[in-house]
């Protein structure tokens, strides 16, 4: 008897029982179900939610692998064991097994904890509420390890994921109903619950925290961190673009994020409207700050000087802006749902990101808060866009009756 047949018999057996959602979730990962259409269209397009979510994950895998190498690279570089990269993206200093192993040991557990805890809760809720396990968490579970510092303790991550999934998503009714992006809810929880941990200058390079205060202390500061303190940045623009800089696990390589973004646009899964308008918004804010500095409104003594004086297009490369724009602002559930609304929403995400980045005294990064803020306002934007259509209809009626 073939596997297909056996699973079919098992599916029949579980039908209607409490275990059905859990069994189906696993079964449907092996086989596209044998369900046929009834009552509506007799044929359906090839895409389902699993395929859509899987496409997003595929776009993120290069960032994850790069992040693993980068974790080891930053670690050994800070310790002085290796030389800085010299030959561009394919530098031999970077793509070494040693680098990869450090990343693998540090980052694989993050992925496992993120998926384990998150999917566990999803299964639990599916069984309690008797619905199928929805695929939303597949992307969230992949996003979370990419937006946390490499040295984050696993228990902290587990607590945050549990909080994010339950409060950020399940209380609203599960996938498709949430207001805030769950991955960012998790990140924001970490940020506000463990602020000293998440905003320090030690957590971004593996090994920096445990060595703090000892004679062989190393710096684990990000570019934004140094800029916020008006320090010189020791990384070249090329390093920033290719990603050989400290930062959250997956956010450093603008190049790979760009490739991922282009892939999402090509597959029509990610909204190019949001990505483009967000970049435009960030450029606009960056130019305004540059102008403020040029006009002499802010002197070099000001504590905002370092970040304001950053050349406008550098803002696109450093910090989490690129990652947030491509993978998180475009989350269809929490973004604006109308095409016009997407333009406004994206522009404001970019604009506010850079604004918060410059003015945030505690933690020089604004993408997370900007996206969460715009998540809250997305329904409002949509409301006004849809009202435009409603008004048009009312005007048509008035023109008729008048």
């Amino acid at each position: 008897m073939s596997l297909k047949r056996r699973l079919h018999i098992l599916k029949r057996k579980y039908r209607g029982s409490k275990m059905a959602p859990a069994f189906n979730a696993i079964h449907t990962f092996l086989f596209l179900p044998d369900e046929t259409t009834h009552g509506g269209t007799h044929i359906k397009a090839a895409d389902d939610l699993k395929r859509t979510m899987n496409t997003v994950i595929m776009a993120m895998v290069p960032c994850l692998i790069f992040g693993m190498f980068n974790a080891g690279y930053q670690h050994y570089l800070a310790l002085g064991d290796i030389e800085a990269v010299s030959a561009g993206f394919l530098s031999s200093e970077f793509w070494t097994l040693d680098n990869f192993l450090v990343g693998l040991i540090k980052i694989l557990p993050l992925v496992v904890v993120s998926y384990g805890v998150g999917l566990g809760i999803e299964f639990l809720f599916a069984i309690i509420k008797k619905h199928e396990v929805e695929e939303g968490y597949l992307v969230t579970g992949m996003l979370v390890p990419l937006i946390v510092p490499v040295d984050i303790p696993l228990w902290m991550l587990a607590v945050a994921v549990a909080f994010g999934v339950v409060i950020g998503k399940e209380v609203f009714g599960g996938t498709g109903m949430n207001i805030l992006n769950p991955a960012l809810t998790i990140r924001a929880f970490l940020f506000f619950a463990y602020p000293t941990w998440m905003s320090g200058d030690k957590v971004w390079v593996h090994g920096a925290v445990e060595r703090a205060g000892t004679p062989d202390a190393i710096s684990g500061e990000t570019i934004l961190g140094s800029l916020a303190q008006n320090n010189e940045v020791s990384y070249s623009v090329m390093d920033m673009f290719l990603g050989f800089i400290p930062g959250s696990v997956g956010e450093t390589s603008a190049l790979l994020i760009l490739i991922g973004g282009l892939f999402l646009i090509f597959t029509k899964i990610g909204s190019w409207r949001i990505m483009l308008s967000s970049v435009l918004g960030a450029i606009a804010m960056g130019l305004i700050f540059n102008w403020v500095v040029d006009a002499g409104v802010i002197g070099s003594g000001s504590k905002f000087y370092g970040l304001m004086n950053t050349v406008w297009w550098h803002h696109l490369l450093i910090g989490g802006f690129a990652f947030g724009t491509v993978f998180m602002a475009t989350d269809p559930v929490t973004a604006s749902q109308t095409n016009k609304g997407k333009w406004i929403y994206g522009f404001l995400v970019g604009f506010i990101s850079i604004m918060i980045r410059v003015f945030n005294p505690a933690y020089p990064e604004g993408v997370m808060l900007a996206i969460l803020l715009m998540n809250v306002f997305a329904p409002t934007i949509d409301h006004y866009v849809v009202q435009g259509n409603v008004k048009k209809r009312m005007k048509r009626l008035k023109a008729k009756t008048a």
């Binding site: 086989f31 369900e35 009552g39 509506g40 498709g176 409603v390 048509r396």
Partner: protein, 500 residues
């Protein structure tokens, strides 16, 4: 050039900072775009208004295997004729005749409980052999054993050119042609007491594997003209007829109507698209719609006095050995057509009365729908597919490019089955519906309004303008596999009940 000018300008003014220049150029560009975009828009809309052409850009042509060849067979005469009251949405049938009654073709069998004048007549002459009832004694089907020699009830001719509005109305109601006239809002049989602001006929079928109306209507010019002239008297406004841009439709030469040439992908041939582009329905207004093939029956009745339920029907679909056209009658058994050079007896098939997007599933012993002019047979998809959710897909249609490759070749014909290609989920993905939905309505928002039954919002978002079939394509592409047509139908029913 602008760049150079701007550069010079700022150099003169003494702005030498690079960043500054960039900022200003950025601003200039935005300004220019803001100025020119509305002008271009105006130009385009002027061009559009100059002719009656309607070009649809948003939509999707689903190319399926098994389009009907343009040859016409006469179907075997069906022994029984079945009328299913469920074809007439919202009608509660009140029987006039009982089991055992003999009747002529065109004799009323039942009427609508809510409007006694709306009569439903028998397509054949014969004897009522069975009235099938379901739960609460609801009538499911009325079966009529057909006579070998058909006799027609004589309704008398009508000189359409001289007839008044009342005469036409009375004739159509009395002869049983009224059910062919539907109304919007609500997509139900028209209320004869409320005159429409316009009447719309689509003479272009763009749905997948639809019957080619140019072929099916050929030689029926006289009937079409009579019917169009007659229904033109029922409205103060205009009769709008759409024909394909490159087609040779018998409808394109009828007088007494405005002819629109439509082009573009499906749903360019849907009557709902025509209404939305020509004269959208406002609150309180009513429009009527008639399908082109039913105009023929109406026309013949007016010209000869006979209700001749004969219709050209396409048999199509990938499982059909020789897809072609048949002349048959409304309510005929499906089996009279599908087995002769059609499908094999043991084929695991889905038989659809209507097209693959909004037709009804029928069993092999079922009958042709009252309104359909196509029978589609496609394979059932009740099988599992290993890793079907992630592997590259070459043999299915998709609007995305997520390892689905139907974008590579838009001409390729597909053999799609009835598999849902995934499970039902909450609405997640946005922006996909708008690409296949040409109406000036927000599809996702109106669907959600229907789901949470907010009557005010449904009305504001344009519920009076839509019919379930307008949402067939959004349902087809829906990643969450939501039943859009059902949602809209239930929404319309709710509005009909609450607002009326």
């Amino acid at each position: 050039m602008i760049y150079v000018k701007v550069n010079k300008f700022y150099a003169q003014k003494g702005f030498c900072n690079e960043v500054h220049k960039n900022l200003l150029i950025f601003r200039e560009t935005v300004l220019l775009i803001c100025i020119f975009a509305p002008i271009f828009r105006q130009l385009i809309s002027i061009k559009k208004n100059m002719s009656n052409d309607i070009r649809i850009k948003k939509g999707l042509d689903i190319n399926l295997k098994g389009a009907a060849e343009k040859t016409l067979d006469t179907a075997i005469v069906s022994n029984t004729c079945t009328i299913r009251p469920e074809d007439f949405h919202g009608v509660i049938p009140k029987l006039i005749l009982k089991v055992g009654a003999k009747l002529k073709a065109g004799e009323p069998v039942f009427y609508d409980k809510s409007n006694e004048n709306v009569k439903f007549v028998s397509p054949v002459s014969g004897e009522i052999t069975e009235i099938v009832r379901g739960a609460k004694r609801r009538i499911l089907a009325i079966k009529i054993q057909a006579d070998k020699k058909q006799t027609f009830q004589d309704n008398g001719k009508l000189d359409v050119d001289a007839a008044t509005q009342e005469e036409v109305l009375g004739k159509l109601l009395k002869s049983g042609c009224w059910p062919f006239i539907k109304q919007r809002p609500y997509d139900v049989i028209a209320n004869p007491e409320k005159a429409p602001k316009a009447i719309f006929v689509s003479g272009y079928a763009s749905a997948p594997l639809a019957a080619d109306l140019d072929f099916a209507l050929q030689g029926k010019e006289a009937e079409l003209q009579a019917a169009v002239t007659a229904i033109g008297k029922l409205t103060e406004g205009t009769v709008h007829i759409s024909v394909g841009k490159n087609s040779n439709s018998p409808l394109s030469s009828v007088s007494g109507a405005t002819i629109h040439k439509v082009s573009g992908p499906h749903p360019s041939g849907n009557v709902g698209t025509l209404i939305n582009k020509v004269d959208p329905i406002n609150k309180g207004e009513v429009v009527w719609t008639v399908s082109a093939q039913d105009l023929v029956i109406i026309g013949e009745l007016l010209l000869t006095g006979k209700f001749n339920a004969e219709r050209v029907v396409a048999l199509a679909g990938s499982l059909v050995e020789k897809p072609r056209y048949f002349t048959t009658k409304i309510g005929s058994e499906i089996a009279t057509m599908i087995y002769d050079k059609g499908i094999s007896e043991e084929a695991n098939s889905r038989i659809i009365s209507g097209n693959v997007l909004s037709g009804k599933e029928v069993r092999p012993d079922g009958a042709l729908d009252y309104y359909s002019n196509v029978i589609t047979v496609i394979p059932e998809g009740d099988d599992y597919e290993l890793f079907g959710w992630t592997k590259p897909v070459f043999n299915k249609v998709s609007t995305s490019r997520a390892l689905t490759f139907s974008w590579l070749n838009s001409k390729k014909e597909y053999n799609l089955n009835t598999n849902t290609n995934g499970e039902h989920r909450a609405f997640v993905v946005t922006g996909g519906y708008e690409e296949v939905f040409p109406l000036d309505i927000y599809p996702l928002q109106i669907l959600k309004a229907c789901m949470y039954k907010d009557l005010d919002e449904m009305e504001a978002l344009g519920m009076y303008e839509v019919a379930p079939e307008d949402f067939a394509l959004t349902e087809f592409v829906c990643v969450s596999k939501q039943p859009h047509q059902k949602i809209i139908r239930e929404g319309l029913d709710l509005m009909l009940k609450e607002i009326g």
